[in-house]
């Protein structure tokens, strides 16, 4: 418990109780997943950078464990434990501690131990309605705690994917851009290389083999690669099959031959990722960028607009909100709408609440099918601090 005084503890407890009451009244069942979680799940889903922010340790039996860095993954695991077939709709709420190593030392707005109160909605088939429901409930929650001065920031991962799908690109480049999107510095370097029309390395063993299999069918390419391995007595190791190795050599061969991707592709993506404005204005800009490049992303854009219409109808002040296309690139499990609540006195990196849609996470955690999922968590210490700040 990060509360530094008994008084703050009481205040956090009281706030948590009323948040949970509110969530329960809205039909979200209170759950309490384990504090200690297997580290592998987080390292696999969020990546090695998690280790830099998470208390990872090995127990006496040699198992690699961690103190949960957030509650979304633990609550998702709890859902799967209860519903292994992942066919049931479920709405959960929680309030509990999460732990993050703070490289610059713990502070009031970046504590190493903090409480998250949140909601997760699994399996709701009407995604748009679920998005709106979760977002409205999160906003109602911070409001009920006494927060007056706040605004929303939105992003949408699905819209970026729609843009990539609409671009004239070989599939191997599309995959690459989708993957690199989550790695902004590498993504940027890749775009620069694209724009310059750079070709891959044309010397070395990899390139020589790529030359050799260029133009071959996948099967005969595989035979050539197998023959090379045999001749040099190299066994297959490292869990990748001959097929996978050959597939990448074929991609390399295609890159060696293909015309460089048009500069315009990089420019369109750059323009898109630079958009940050009030939602209506932002969507207009995005529509213009798409139209200028002759790309059809109407369906994805309409979905974004419909959601904004519903939010506005339900009392969300969009004039004060921002839609940032870059927003949400940090957590690879997000797949659609992402949002956060920012409050007066706290900066953009200290949101009071955040959330979004993560349709791929449950399958990655072992669900037999894709499970629509959306949730939101409140950083309760920050919420209390933001409310206190205005009150005092």
């Amino acid at each position: 418990m990060a509360a530094e005084s008994a008084q703050k503890f009481e205040a956090l407890e009281a706030q948590a109780r009323s948040l949970l009451d509110l969530f329960a009244r809205a039909g979200y069942e209170p759950v309490a997943p384990a504090v200690i979680q297997p580290a592998g799940v987080f390292l696999d889903q969020i990546g090695e950078q998690v280790r830099g922010r998470t208390y990872v340790f090995t127990d006496l039996a040699g198992e690699e464990l961690c103190l949960r860095p957030d509650l979304t993954v633990p609550v998702s695991r709890l859902y799967l434990e209860r519903h292994p077939n992942a066919e049931t709709q479920a709405r959960y709420c929680y309030n509990g501690a999460a732990f993050r190593f703070q490289p610059l030392g713990p502070s009031t707005t970046h504590p190493r131990e903090f409480r998250q109160a949140g909601i997760e909605c699994f399996g709701a088939p009407d995604k748009e309605s679920a998005d709106v429901e979760v977002l409205l409930l999160a906003v109602e929650a911070v409001r009920s705690a006494g927060l007056r001065e706040f605004w929303l920031r939105f992003g949408d991962i699905a819209l970026f994917y729609a843009l990539i799908d609409a671009l004239q690109l070989p599939e191997r480049w599309r995959r690459k851009l989708r993957h690199y999107f989550w790695r902004p510095p590498v993504f940027h370097a890749l775009l620069t290389r694209l724009a310059k029309g750079e070709r891959p390395d044309s010397d070395g063993l990899t390139a020589a083999l790529a030359e050799k299999i260029a133009g071959e069918t996948h099967d005969s390419a595989e035979e050539i690669v197998a023959a090379y391995l045999d001749e040099h007595a190299i066994p297959i190791a490292g869990n990748r099959s001959l097929r996978e190795i050959t597939a990448r050599l074929c991609d390399h061969a295609a890159d060696l031959r293909a015309d460089p991707l048009p500069k315009e592709v990089a420019t369109v993506i750059d323009y898109y990722l630079a958009v940050s404005a009030a939602p209506r204005e932002a969507t207009e800009k995005i529509a213009m960028i798409a139209k200028g490049a002759g790309l059809d992303i109407d369906a994805a854009l309409d979905a974004v607009l419909r959601r904004f219409d519903r939010l506005e109808r339900d009392g969300i002040d969009l004039e004060r909100a921002t839609f940032t296309t870059e927003f949400g690139r940090k957590l690879e499990y997000y797949s659609g709408l992402v949002f956060q609540v920012e409050a007066a006195g706290l900066d953009e990196n200290e949101p009071v609440a955040g959330g979004g849609r993560y349709d791929n996470l449950l399958a990655a955690l072992g669900a037999p099918r894709e499970v629509p999922a959306v949730g939101s968590a409140i950083h309760t210490e920050r919420l209390l601090a933001a409310v206190d700040k205005v009150a005092s």
Binding site: L43, I236, G238
Partner: protein, 237 residues
Amino acid sequence: MTTSMTAPALVIAVPSKGRLKEQAAELFERAGTPLRVKGHERGYRGQLEGLGDVEVEYTSAAEIVHQLKAGRVHLGITGEDLVRETLTDVDGTVEFLKPLGFGQADVIVAVPECWLDVSRMADLEDVAEQFARSHGRRLRVATKYMNLTRRFFARKGVTGYRIVESVGATEATPTTGTSELIVDITTTGTTLKANHLKVLEDGLILKSQAHLLAAKSAAWDPRALELRETILSALST
């Protein structure tokens, strides 16, 4: 020890076993200040001949880094790889006084030789994408150098991986299937070759060797500083 002694003016930590110990002994021999073990053969304290107020502490190469960090010893001889792996603020904690020309080892990134499509670090991120797609998980890097690996991979823009900690026989893990690639030390490359691994073209993380190091937080009184200069110049001739 039964004889009472005045506190030493300077403490130097020296590796207590293996090749590093032998090579450190040869080094001081050549410098004309041979190491003398105090008491029985397996003692953990010693002296430098001719420098009566220097105490030698024999301890493991890894422990020497911790002793230097805490300032419990003034000087220490240990591998640069251990220093850079263990300390978060290397420059604020120790000073590299002199590379000693032994204990050479390269910390490298190696992948299975059969990965004909991979020759550079940048290829790893593409492999990570393909691997996640077909196996549903991240690439695993087996290593005991968790920090060096994380920093190097971050600098090279490779993120689609996770580390599995390995304390022994790291080079065998891609063959046994518990990892896909490794970060390990190599001197001649024979072990890598025997395990059908190849070093990536830009996969050299650190060219390490044994160094004489000074602890910044040790008590450096004038006599200790004087002894440090004496030892350093003896080792430099």
